[in-house]
């Protein structure tokens, strides 16, 4: 039987976990996970399976931090697609402007909130990037559902005129690029404001 007394979980996973947690819970929660990893999981399952267990636990924390934002982000995308499919137009300027501002606002809010909560710039960027990819999967599912229910010729023509169905499936994944940019700026603002606020309240 393997003993887990000084075993260490994957460093990157522990780093991700600690950056995601609210600062006041960072040490006790990562300590709980480390204690369980060393005293129960490694002795019972061995180091490799224990590392997988640890990664799964961290993924659970990441999922909890990202899914509400992902739902909002994909919801905005699917609503925009629904408008393009069912209320066709030739002038996309206003819709594009509205969608872009909404997306940027959601990316900024995700990063700001995550960085403020954890006091960690990394958390802001990480949550925002992961959120866009979960949102992309949800968006693809949403658009597929729309087209599965309504695929008459008028809807398919409107879809083609608005950029094509392929674009609706690819575009959500491309949000990772603005997520990196907006997430970096908002994450920096969020983490610095948190530190300034904490320093102010400690005085």
């Amino acid at each position: 039987m393997t003993t887990g007394g000084d075993a260490r979980p994957p460093r990157w996973a522990e780093g991700v976990l600690r950056s995601m947690l609210a600062s006041e819970h960072r040490d006790n929660v990562s300590g709980d996970l480390l204690e369980e990893y060393r005293t129960t999981i490694v002795p019972a399952r061995g180091p490799s399976a224990a590392d997988r267990w640890y990664r799964r636990q961290v993924a659970g924390f990441v999922w909890r931090a990202t899914w509400p934002w992902a739902l909002l982000f994909s919801g905005a995308f699917v609503v925009r697609q629904a408008f393009d499919f069912f209320v066709p137009t030739h002038d996309f300027y206003f819709r594009s402007l509205l969608t872009t501002y909404t997306a940027v606002a959601l990316l900024a809010a995700t990063s700001l909130w995550s960085a403020w909560r954890s006091g960690s710039f990394v958390a802001g960027v990480l949550v925002t990037v992961v959120m866009t990819q979960i949102a992309a999967v949800l968006s693809v599912l949403g658009v597929s559902l729309l087209l599965a229910i309504w695929h008459d010729s008028a809807t398919m023509k409107a879809a083609a005129d608005s950029g094509g169905v392929a674009e609706a499936y690819v575009l959500p994944f491309m949000a990772v690029i603005p997520a990196l940019i907006v997430g970096t700026v908002a994450g920096a603002i969020g983490s610095v404001s948190r530190r300034l606020f904490s320093a102010g309240t400690a005085r």
């Binding site: 819970h25 040490d27 006790n28 929660v29 709980d32 204690e35 999922w63």
Partner: protein, 112 residues
């Protein structure tokens, strides 16, 4: 009226009651897993404890660290009066719903 509790919140609060002075994150996780007889994610218990503390149903304090935790402190939870009220009301609601019925339900014994 006290806070309406979900089933998982009840499981976490009852674990805090059972563990008394030993109610910290990992112990609560193991107690909940054992009572529910299934694997439970640490993140789910942590998020629930955070929510219950925000609602004022539990309070927490930091304890000391141990070498196996790399010196990181334990956070101990204890039930607050609002938590006791919420648990009592949750139990009362279930008892009221079941009043007059024999348990366990068996098909044919008064059930169509």
């Amino acid at each position: 009226m006290a806070e309406v509790l979900g089933a998982f919140e009840q499981a976490v609060l009852l674990a805090v009651v059972r563990l008394r002075d030993g109610a910290y994150g990992r112990a609560i996780l193991k107690e909940v897993q054992s009572r529910l007889d299934r694997d439970v994610a640490a993140g789910a218990v942590h998020a629930t404890l955070e929510r219950l503390e925000r609602k004022g149903l539990v309070a927490s304090r930091l304890g000391s660290g141990t070498p196996v935790r790399a010196g990181r402190p334990r956070r101990y939870y204890r039930l607050q009066p609002a938590g006791i009220r919420a648990l009592n009301e949750a139990r009362e609601a279930v008892d009221t719903l079941w009043a007059g019925l024999k348990w366990p339900l068996i098909k044919g014994r008064g059930i169509a």
